[in-house]
Symmetry: C3
Subunit: 162 residues, 3 copies
């Protein structure tokens, strides 16, 4: 195990003073189609370009309690099918819930949301997220019917030179 020191940036105070940090705030609206995964990586990347992000962190918050954020494999679509099926096994519908006023899929949706990320903080270098080769960012819909979901975006870091 070793730290790779080759890509460290702005290690000293002098550099930081010379490049003051900025921030930008935005909102993604995502239309889901019922249980499943909607990739938003390209939308986040586009927003980072629009706000001229350089180096920093992009924060995501999903503003709902029955849908989740996820970073997962974006190569084989079967993976997403199996992930959704696994969530259904971990939090099945049934008569054992007290909260049932919003339909049989609502309480399982809250349980799934409890087990998955609500916020993500992704490092950005030269305007690009430092995701792994196979990683994509997704909104995961837990409810049975399509919904409109909101993801709050916030970038803190340097801006690209104009």
């Amino acid at each position: 195990m070793s730290a790779d020191r080759s890509d460290q940036l702005h290690q000293n105070r002098a550099t930081a003073v010379a490049t003051p940090l900025a921030q930008a705030s935005g909102l993604l609206r995502v239309a889901t189609g019922g249980p499943g995964c909607t990739e938003i990586s390209a939308d986040v990347a586009r927003w980072l370009r629009e706000v001229e992000a350089g180096d920093g962190i992009v924060h995501l918050l999903i503003r709902h309690t029955s849908a989740s954020l996820m970073i997962q494999e974006n190569a084989d679509p079967d993976v997403q099918h199996d992930l959704v099926a696994a969530l259904r096994r971990l939090a099945p519908e049934g008569p054992h819930y007290r909260h049932d006023s919003e339909g049989p899929d609502d309480m399982p949706a809250h349980i799934k949301a409890m087990m998955m990320p609500v916020t993500l903080s992704v490092p950005v270098l030269n305007g690009r997220m430092r995701l792994g080769t196979w990683q994509g960012i997704y909104v995961v819909e837990h409810r049975a019917r399509p919904h409109r979901r909101e993801v709050a975006l916030h970038f803190i870091g340097t801006c690209m030179a104009p």
Copy 2:
């Protein structure tokens, strides 16, 4: 799917230079009553007012391995009851654990803590967290008995004009 550009702030470097970023650090102490959820949204909101937070990110870290942070529905208390019951089913007590020196509820508590957030990063605009309408922030106690828990707070962003 589309990005809402109406609420983007500080998109260009000039604005950022004019509004240097500040930070503030704090600690919440939370008394829990055994398995269940304690809402801390109002405590975090009050702290943001005290430190005169403007736009930025508030970070939370729960400093324990048998309790969790959670963002969940704060409308129907039955939801919280069902969430705690679901955690009990996912990580039941039993004789199948090696680690049993701290009581039968300890290892299930660690498993629950593994599956839920330890850190959260919530965007803040004009001093207010951008949570969804029904979202509240909770400390979830996984141990059988009441505990005193600590949540580290850290804000990075602009401060309100004096």
Copy 3:
């Protein structure tokens, strides 16, 4: 429940203007030995010293979809054994997955990764992470064989006085 105000820092804009924020970026390479937990707390702490971190946030992103980040007890090694066993029960191998082209351990690994943190944001004061007494940061390997894993590091905050 009460906020401890004794350790709040930089509450007002004046202080922040006087101590501009810096950032640093790095990469940890972690060799895992198959299913299990590898503690990286000391590596992250060492990197924070190298970049002369003062007060701020250190962000971690694991750049993989079949391994996870975790903050858990670092006292009794039996805890880690039981955590890995619990993950195996929650996401068992079996013939019920569509995605099986990368071996029987691959889809269970993605499910485990879905339920655990991909990013962490840890507050730092005076160069030290504000982790609890018993908390350590781990890379959790979900695949059956050893892998080389990468964790992106990013610090935003003040730097130590030279």
